[in-house]
Amino acid sequence: MTSATAKSPTRAGGPSFFHTYRFQISIITLLVVLYAVFIIRAPGTYLSFNIYRSFMISIPFFGLMAMAATFIVTLGEIDLSFPSIAGFSGWVFAATYVNTSSFILALVLCLVVGAILGLINGLLVTKVGIPSIVATIGTMFLWSGLVNVVTEGRGIPIAQITAAPLHSLFVGELFGQIPAQFLWFLAGSTVMGLIYKRHRFGSHVLFIGDNADSARMMGIHVDRVKTLCFVTMGVSAALSVVFILNQLTFFWASTGSGYLLTTLAAVFIGGTSVFGGRGTMIGTFVGVLIIASLEPGIIAIGLTGFYTQFIYGLLITISVAVYALMLRRRD
């Protein structure tokens, strides 16, 4: 990659580095400013490793879903059902593990169910032709409703899972310090980030989100690419719930709910356009870090928890306004 960039043809007057990466630069600046505030106001908390360790535990619960959602938003689509997919595939994981004591079987079934539920979303959007916002409102209720039906609202304790050898592969700690799920998140994010801008698949996603008619004429399999993005979303939700369940060792009927808006907020704070065709994975990655840091940060600097939502709202509104203005100045 380095040699390609070095030899790359550039001419005076082309898009500058600052212009090309203006979204990424904006959000990284926001992260730095936030952390400066946190560290200055609460040095005891923010200069100790403990808080970062707790971030590394909780970020993967929604971080991978945010990366996967970036593909869907870039298509110009939306998925509101992924928390319900996490919930239902989480039930599959817990129920399978409790009944068979097989971690592997529970894991495989959970991921397969996540893929199938994602596939159903994809087919509803591409083959039946339902707008994704409508289709996934339907499946959002469908799968979380199904969890209620099968569990009758009761949770499933899986405390014995901590004894399973694979348990530590998902939520163990490297060198006793780094939570394993964070390494999974880093690996998953790197792969998705590379696919987004440097792989044929990501190129097709960007092209479809920008101009689906043109993509079709260029021979890109529009429906197939869209469906695959929904499948990726489903698998990411299923993998995320494996982290959640192994960490909490309990399945609640409400598992997964509560991640919808924070996950999408991370995508939009990151600078991915809801109109499709434009986005950045680095943006989403930093957006995830910001969203995850806000609540503990707000409390650490001495504000009460009542401020959390207000400050979420403030940051989301300001950042999307800044992005909109950046795009308008281009025209």
Partner: protein, 256 residues
């Protein structure tokens, strides 16, 4: 493949939508290395004919031969695979994407596991920009977003891309619509470059002057039929305009 056969041949093409006959008995040939203008009023059947050639519609009757072989084209992707490419002004490019991403859309150069060969794509795009797209402005690089290009420049990119990926027949649907005079000149130059590469084009435009400048032959459609055919050598621009006006008046009279 029959070397003596024309590039594209339509025999007895008919198209009806319900009771309405949109095209009747269309016979036409496009040879290698020629630009054929397809002209006619709105509703004459130009766009229906193009959609039949590019596989968007199936003809109600008639046969299509490409390079001497009979073909049935099911969709735009299939026609593109054969070497027929339609360049629409609005639909050709993705505006928010870089020039190199547009050039290689659907034809990506990859290294391993489908990862893009960014170096090759940017190098080849740079090459195309210099030699065929006429993009000389210092402000435009391979990394520029296509949305920053003018209408004429975009047509140039779309035509250069089609030629680069070996389209044999390029259909230009009203390529000069809404363009300034300089921009139009640019598009006409790109159109001539298709012939210079030994490829063929069907050029559809309302403006007889643009058409006359660039085409080798003229086919005038009128209410679903081919009304007239001219070689460039046997017709003047004035005669072409007169023919069009006469057909238009005849159409108007018959409507009354």
């Amino acid at each position: 493949m029959d070397a003596t056969a024309p590039l594209l041949q339509l025999k007895g093409i008919q198209k009806s939508f319900g009771h309405i006959r949109v095209l009747r008995d269309i016979d036409l040939e496009i040879n290698y290395g020629e630009i054929v203008a397809l002209i006619g009023d709105n509703g004459a059947g130009k766009s229906t004919l193009i959609k039949i050639i590019t596989g968007v519609y199936a003809p109600s009757a008639g046969e299509i031969y490409f390079k001497g072989e009979r073909i049935t084209v099911r969709d735009a992707r299939a026609s593109r695979a054969l070497g027929i490419e339609c360049v629409y002004q609005e639909r050709a490019l993705a505006e928010q994407q870089e020039l190199w991403r547009n050039v290689f859309a659907g034809h990506e150069r990859t290294t391993f596991l489908g990862f893009l060969d960014l170096g090759a794509q940017r190098r080849e795009t740079e090459q195309l920009m210099r030699t065929r797209m006429g993009l000389t402005s210092q402000a435009i690089t391979v990394d520029s977003e296509v949305g920053g290009l003018s209408g004429g420049e975009r047509q140039g990119v779309a035509i250069a891309r089609a030629l680069y990926f070996d389209a044999d027949l390029i259909i230009l649907d009203e390529p000069t619509m809404g363009l300034s005079i300089t921009e139009t000149e640019r598009v006409l130059a790109f159109t001539r470059s298709i012939r210079d590469h030994g490829k063929s084009a069907i050029f559809i435009d309302h403006n007889i002057f643009h058409v006359y400048d660039v085409a080798d032959r003229f086919i005038i459609l009128d209410r679903g039929r081919i009304a007239e055919r001219f070689e460039k050598s046997e017709v003047t621009r004035e005669k072409l305009v007169e023919t069009m006006v006469a057909l238009h008046d005849a159409g108007t009279v018959s409507l009354i």
